[in-house]
């Protein structure tokens, strides 16, 4: 069952109850393999963020099963979920990803330190992660001394520090200009090509296009998906 880094099977999430119940997600199934970047596209209110929260165990589905690296999230208690988030899952949000009181390297080392790893080890792992995204030179800066794009890269480093292999990104370029945004997506793409699994939520097709597979979400349902990416050179051949 560990073929997929992330698998959602028939996941439904209802907010509230009774007359005020809102169906945020309805029977959604999704799989992300290691080395694969899957994008979820949809307008605001389509349930994209809920999907992402469910995938990381920040929220629990009303029905259906979420599995991360073969672990069923509904079988974990709160501590187990937290441990899974520390070791397996990394989030990158639109902005304000970093804790202002910590330097870049400390931010990246945070999940490892929370996991009880010794400071030096955690720091070394964090430096490696920062090098992987190309901002090792910013290690000692505080978040307010970095540009938005740099902050997002540090957040990506944190999302994939140590043993973490699943990156959940929620509009990671939403607060950036298009050029910086592209650089951030390029970083995510590179990390996935290096073996990480990525789930990217966005409402912009241009950004979703970086993914291997794109899923269209509307009103909590998957209405469309591109399927696996055809061979890269087919474009010229098609002409």
């Amino acid at each position: 069952m560990t073929e997929y880094a992330l698998e959602l099977r028939d996941v439904t999430r209802v907010h509230g109850s009774g007359e005020t119940a809102v169906n945020a997600l309805h029977g959604v199934s999704l799989r992300v393999r290691a080395g694969q970047l899957v994008a979820v596209m949809g307008p605001s209110g389509s349930g994209k963020s809920t999907l992402l929260h469910l995938a990381g165990g920040l929220d629990t589905p009303t029905e259906g099963v979420v599995e991360v690296e073969g672990n069923r999230l509904d079988e974990q208690n709160r501590a187990g979920l937290a441990a899974l988030r520390r070791r397996g899952i990394g989030y990158v949000f639109q902005d304000l990803n970093l804790i202002p009181a910590l330097t870049a390297v400390e931010n990246v080392a945070l999940p490892r330190e929370l996991d009880g790893v010794r400071v030096r080890v955690a720091r070394a792992e964090a430096m490696t992660a920062l090098e992987d995204v190309g901002v090792a030179n910013l290690a000692e800066r505080f978040p307010d001394e970095m540009s938005g794009g740099q902050q997002q890269r540090v957040a990506i480093a944190r999302a994939l520090v140590g043993p973490r292999r699943l990156l959940l990104a929620d509009e990671p370029t939403g607060a950036l200009d298009s050029h910086t945004g592209e650089a951030v997506l390029r970083t995510i793409r590179a990390r996935c090509d290096a073996g990480a699994a990525g789930l990217l939520v966005t409402h912009e097709a241009r950004h979703a296009a970086w993914a291997d597979e794109i899923v269209f979400l509307r009103d909590g349902r998957i209405v469309d998906e591109t399927g696996a990416m055809p061979a890269a050179d087919s474009l010229l051949g098609a002409q």
């Binding site: 269209f216 055809p230 474009l235 002409q239």
Partner: protein, 190 residues
């Protein structure tokens, strides 16, 4: 946009002969706009006729004629760069007409048309992005700009399709008799 201005722009850099022009053209626009040599020579002869290019009189070892811009050719090119592209210059938008027809034609599921088109466009977008991934930021600036242009256009199309889908979703559904029109081929658009 036409091959005419493409060739004029290339000749502005340096005098060239036909095959050279074709290679440069493809290099600048990526492989997105393939030309055959016949198109190049037809266009060149038309430009020569209109006095926009002239033969330099030299030829290479294989005896191919080298062309260069005339003054009026230069003026023509400058005028082209200075004039913004208007929508009138573009070909009629087949996609818009297709969706419009799908809505009004009984028995056709317009949403399916839209979604199929979107899948195709997004896949195209993915391919363009993949090309961009491979490009070298410094060396291929012109090529990247062309790619970006295509990416943004495709994205606009996706957004328009998204918007259309929302509109269609809000309309009360009409009884659909015939199966949805499958249309996932790129050529239909072009």
């Amino acid at each position: 946009m036409s091959i005419k201005y493409g060739l004029l722009a290339l000749l502005e850099r340096a005098p060239m002969y036909g095959y050279q022009l074709r290679a440069e053209f493809e290099r600048s626009t990526g492989a997105t706009w393939p030309l055959n040599i016949g198109q190049v020579y037809t266009t060149l002869s038309r430009l020569h006729r209109d006095g926009l290019v002239e033969e330099t009189g030299e030829s290479d070892e294989q005896g191919k004629v080298v062309y260069r811009l005339t003054d009026s050719g230069h003026a023509e090119l400058t005028g082209w760069f200075a004039t913004p592209v208007t929508s009138d210059d573009r070909p009629r938008d087949e996609l818009a007409i297709k969706v419009a027809l799908a809505v009004t034609t009984p028995g056709v599921d317009a949403r399916a048309v839209v979604q199929a088109q979107r899948t195709a466009t997004v896949r195209h977008l993915q391919e363009l992005t993949r090309l961009k991934t491979r490009a070298d930021e410094d060396a291929d600036l012109a090529w990247l700009l062309v790619l970006d242009s295509m990416i943004f256009r495709a994205e606009a199309e996706v957004r328009w399709l998204d918007h259309s889908e929302t509109r269609l979703a809000r309309r009360p559904p009409r009884p659909a008799a015939t199966p949805a029109v499958e249309s996932d081929e790129q050529e239909v658009v072009q």
